[in-house]
């Protein structure tokens, strides 16, 4: 029994380590490529023995800033994604709460609608949406990249299911103590729902940070375009320098890593400190 357990654990660690390697090696190669001179990047890519750059250089990073307005892209991306994430947390959590706890006419129908919308991909509505925002005169703005993505069916659904599982007693206690629904939400429910807020924040950030198709359709000037369109710019700037692309990639991924680490800690803390399950 004991032996079996130890064996199972060793096996589990081996498998997990293997998987971690599979995911980490490409990232390591990106970092390594970004530190190599341009002519070595492509020939050495995919050769593990050349993972450590022989003559590391920061030239590629310098190039990125010189050849494209990197800082501009970064600011745009942070602003757009940050706004979507923070507004999305507010709007979608309130919607999820209304669906899970309040009693109102048409609640079931709205819930069904939300669930149906989860499977609808952006590509399916991109063109009609494009016409709509054109009508509003929103093209080539921050607004057009933010507003359509704040309300999100999947986020609403995640909040909805989480709130359903919360013990209702706390909210009932608050009602008896004299709190109104909005107050209950902000003072009682939200502080005890850190895990779901963290999960939705991470998910929203990851999807929006890499958003490419929509900004490509609705923007045309660098002043409002996000990072993914910036990296694409290199393919149109001869000579094609892979080192620059790798350096750009590294800098683009860094905020993702930071956000993930930040919220992941919160996520774990939330589960541990409230002691709430589900």
């Amino acid at each position: 029994m004991r032996c079996g357990n130890v064996f199972a654990r060793v096996a589990a660690y081996l498998i997990l380590s293997g998987m971690a390697l599979v995911f980490l090696i490409p990232v390591a190669m990106m970092v390594s490529g970004s530190l190599k001179p341009d002519h070595l990047v492509l020939p050495e890519a995919g050769r593990l023995v050349k993972l450590l750059p022989t003559e590391p250089t920061l030239e590629n990073y310098r190039d990125v800033f010189a050849r494209v307005p990197f800082a501009r892209y970064m600011v745009n991306s942070i602003f757009i994604t940050g706004t979507i994430v923070s507004c999305g947390l507010l709007v979608n959590s309130l919607a999820g709460y209304a669906l899970s706890r309040l009693h109102w006419r048409g609640r079931k129908a709205v819930l069904t609608g939300v669930i149906a919308l989860i499977i609808l991909p952006l590509e399916a509505i991109a063109v009609p949406l494009f016409y709509e925002v054109t009508l509003f005169g929103w093209r080539n703005t921050y607004l057009v990249q933010i507003v359509p993505f704040i309300a999100n069916a999947f986020s609403v659904y995640l909040f909805y299911t989480f709130f359903l599982e919360l013990p209702e007693e706390l909210e009932e206690a608050a009602r008896i103590d004299g709190a109104r629904p909005i107050r209950i939400f902000f003072s009682i429910v939200a502080p005890n729902s850190q895990p779901v807020f963290a999960a939705v924040a991470i998910l929203t950030f990851l999807t929006q940070w890499g958003s490419f198709l929509w900004p490509l359709m609705v923007t045309h000037s660098e002043s409002v375009r996000p990072l993914p369109l910036g990296i694409a710019l290199f393919y149109t700037l001869p000579p094609l320098q892979w080192g620059d692309i790798f350096a750009f990639g590294v800098m683009m991924v860094l905020p993702m890593l930071m956000v993930f680490l930040l919220f992941q800690r919160w996520f774990v803390q939330g589960v541990a400190s409230t002691g709430m399950k589900g």
């Binding site: 009932e172 206690a173 009602r175 008896i176 103590d177 004299g178 107050r183 400190s273 409230t274």
Partner: protein
Amino acid sequence: MAAVEFRNVSKRFADGTEAVRNLNLAIHDGELVALVGPSGCGKSTVLRLLAGLEEPSAGEILLDGKVVNRIGPRQRNIAMVFQNYALYPHMTVRDNLAFPLRMRRTPRKIVARKIADIAGILNLRELLDRRPGQLSGGQKQRVAMGRALVRNPSVFLLDEPLSNLDAKLRAQIRADISSLQKRLARTTLYVTHDQVEAMTLGDRIAVMERGELHQVGTPAELYRRPRSIFVARFIGNPGMNIFPASVLRDKDGTWRLRTGHWDIPLPPEKLPRGGSPEALQSIRAGLRPESFGPTPGDGTVPCAVRATATEFLGHETLVYFHIPGAQGSTPLAARLPGHMTLPEPAAELHIHPSALYLFGGDGILLR
């Protein structure tokens, strides 16, 4: 301060469960009514109806003579202690206590003063900066009481507040609640499944079973004149012994109660009024465990017993026995003073016939 009244209140949940059926109950101003009954009988539902967390399906709930059926919990000024305390886990004890006051826009200074007051009364001063997760069960319980009391509610509701505590702490907090209630005299509905709590705390006790109210009365009334077998068994520890018996009239005209080898003459005040002879053949008789004595006394009748077990509890002994010659498998219990062992399986105990209760086939008290 407030009076509460339930008028023909019923509650049927969406799934068809009828948790409360035609409840009529009045709680006077300043009175503590203990609502008892087995788990699942609808006690919590009654509390939740009064708190405004549930709406009655029929009937009216009155607070100080006003129908409050459609008024939400916020406007009722009722406070409640939940079974699991429902303390806000992310707030300190101080903030937990302040929450109901802040919801009523109480000025900061007064909040601080009231918290200090209640912390003094409930001995919470050292705990004010802790979070619920850092408190023991008894401390959580006190904080929950404090949060309920801090805003001077007109009605105070407690849902099995001691059920999550160990026996010793339970006795101590029970005494605390009792003295607190004497001092504050709040209109209180106290739910419990423990008859000891009900007896010790309740000005009156309301006994529920399967959504229906069996009887309401003072602890003494319920102990002396239980209206039904259910109440008789529920009140007292152990509850009343109930056994099948028949009542018949001797040739010489005296009425007697017979079961197995027992043959007890009935005193005049225990004579059944009316009732067909067939019905009297199969009634149910009741005797409290404390009605048995080890030695004969004035007017007692000897009863043969076949003891099966004895439990020595220190100040008293519980003897479990069967009635010789009677069918029925559940043993009866007798409480005898001191340390007592019945000499042999076949022994005698003595009862006073006036201690007998007679119940009809429907379980309702006859005499």
